[in-house]
Symmetry: C2
Subunit: 309 residues, 2 copies
């Protein structure tokens, strides 16, 4: 008689894409599937698609069985209820009992986690955070998310809303933000902000952050100035975070990360100038690129699954 | 045969005053003594004066014996070494082995803690934080300190420098700060900042924060405007802290606290306006005055002592 090999299913549930991976307890991806997220569909459709992905992974890994499912998703996770709320990209799931429905359907423990928190856990488990007990991750995408890990675990706050780092105010009186405030980091350092700045700088009406990155790489001064501005905003936010936490590691990830060499010098100069604690740690506070790319969320979701057994 | 009653000695070691109290395990002050801190004296003198205070407490509590000593002091506490550094008010102690010398002299376990952290622990143990597992305390005195409690314990960071909340930047490009940055909370909401603003507003060259408070209470418009400015700066810092932590409780203490009614309306309006998480928690995030006054540090230091047994 042999023991059946077990895996955790990590699900990265985005507004457009649904990715799922079978991950071993040691953190190896055994198989992965990629689906579309049904747009604006009711919760039952999303549940069915996740169950289908789990079934496909099970089919492709004969002789192995799933132990649990972890799901990383944008929005606020209501832990005690196992629901997602305030997620503009997943409107059909607002308040829907995703955890309980999936548990009922699959007969497996299911856990939800915010996508930026899942990415932070992934980097801690398998990526750039492996040697750090405490770290902060900033995900620089269309918006900006944050994940705070203390003593190896996510800081959730008392209602699961901690780590809203995209809404740290870096420019009092700055651009208005969808959150109701103004001058938020997200308005100054996200991919959307880069597009908006490209328009204001007369580079083009709707250039993507990637196109503006390519202009800057080609030597365009205005495009380069945009990334310096991004770096300064990130540095202002990081200086406050370093003064608050005195953690050893701060990681950046997401679609803006390939522009690291364009924004990092201004960012690090701003942290050096503005954070007493950063200077006080004499080079031991590390601010670095994350290393797992889009897989961080998959690994982190699978890790959350492993914790649920 | 009776068991001898035990107490922890909490020491509040300031630049000017040295207070010590014998505190029972239940958190009752059994006796207290008040000394001057020897100004700029070498570490051995401070050690001797603390030992003398412990001796006096022991003498006054016949039939009871000290179990441990906890000391709250300004500056950075180097935990592994048991030393204090970067404390302008205690220059004679910089790098001095205070913990080990006192342990040798008294034959008791001794623990050091930053003064703002000790105040936060005191409020958690016996004050306004009793029902909260997580809280942030801001101490509004000559400078501004911070203490962060998560799951009942201080967040120290990897080098003991966490919680430098007086150096959160609230006004980019604002007044220069002794920390090397500018626009720090401490430059906008401490007692020193209130004195500086009083001078700039033409109220007088060297009015104390208390005198400016009295002018404001008497209806002086410029003095009232200063406290509104203080409130706005505190609100900006608190909005970021609420977005980061999603803790249930944020406390304010220190010499500026009596002006609560003058600065709190502007402070709470700024948090409401700027923090998405604050609004999202629908009244469940509490921002309140601390209740123990100067005793918070004594209670917290004694609590640290109890943990050291």
């Amino acid at each position: 008689m042999t023991t059946m090999k077990r895996f955790s299913v990590g699900v990265d549930l985005g507004g457009t894409n649904l990715r799922a991976a079978a991950v071993s307890e040691e953190g190896a991806i055994l198989a992965a599937v990629h689906r579309a997220t049904p747009q604006g569909a009711p919760g039952d459709d999303v549940t069915a698609r996740i169950a289908g992905a789990v079934g496909e992974l099970r089919g492709r890994l004969e002789g192995a069985a799933p132990a649990a499912v972890g799901i990383g998703a944008p929005g606020i996770i209501v832990m005690e209820k196992g629901t997602i709320t305030q997620s503009p990209n997943l409107p059909g799931l607002d308040g829907y009992p995703l955890r309980d429905r999936l548990e009922g359907l699959l007969g497996l423990p299911v856990r939800l986690e915010n996508d930026a928190n899942a990415a932070a856990l992934g980097e801690k488990w398998r990526g750039a955070g492996r040697d750090a007990d405490h770290l902060v991750l900033l995900t620089l995408g269309t918006g900006i998310g944050g994940g705070i890990i203390y003593r190896g675990e996510i800081v959730h706050g008392f209602l699961g809303m901690a780590g809203e780092l995209g809404h740290l105010k870096v420019v009092p009186g700055g651009y208005p933000c969808g959150c109701g405030s103004e001058g938020c980091l997200e308005q100054h350092a996200s991919a959307s902000a880069i597009t908006a700045m490209g328009r204001m700088m007369g580079l083009g009406e709707q250039l993507s952050a990637k196109e503006i990155f390519e202009l800057a790489e080609g030597g365009n001064r205005r495009a380069k100035a945009i990334f310096q501005n991004v770096g300064k905003a990130l540095g202002a936010a990081l200086a406050n975070l370093v003064n608050i936490f005195n953690f050893p590691l701060y990681l950046l990830s997401g679609g803006v990360l390939p522009a690291w060499s364009l924004f990092a010098p201004a960012m690090l100069a701003e942290v050096e100038r503005s954070s007493y604690v950063y200077r006080g740690t004499a080079g031991r506070t590390r601010i670095e690129p994350a290393t797992l790319g889009a897989d961080a969320g998959l690994f982190g979701a699978a890790w959350v699954g492993w914790q649920a057994r």
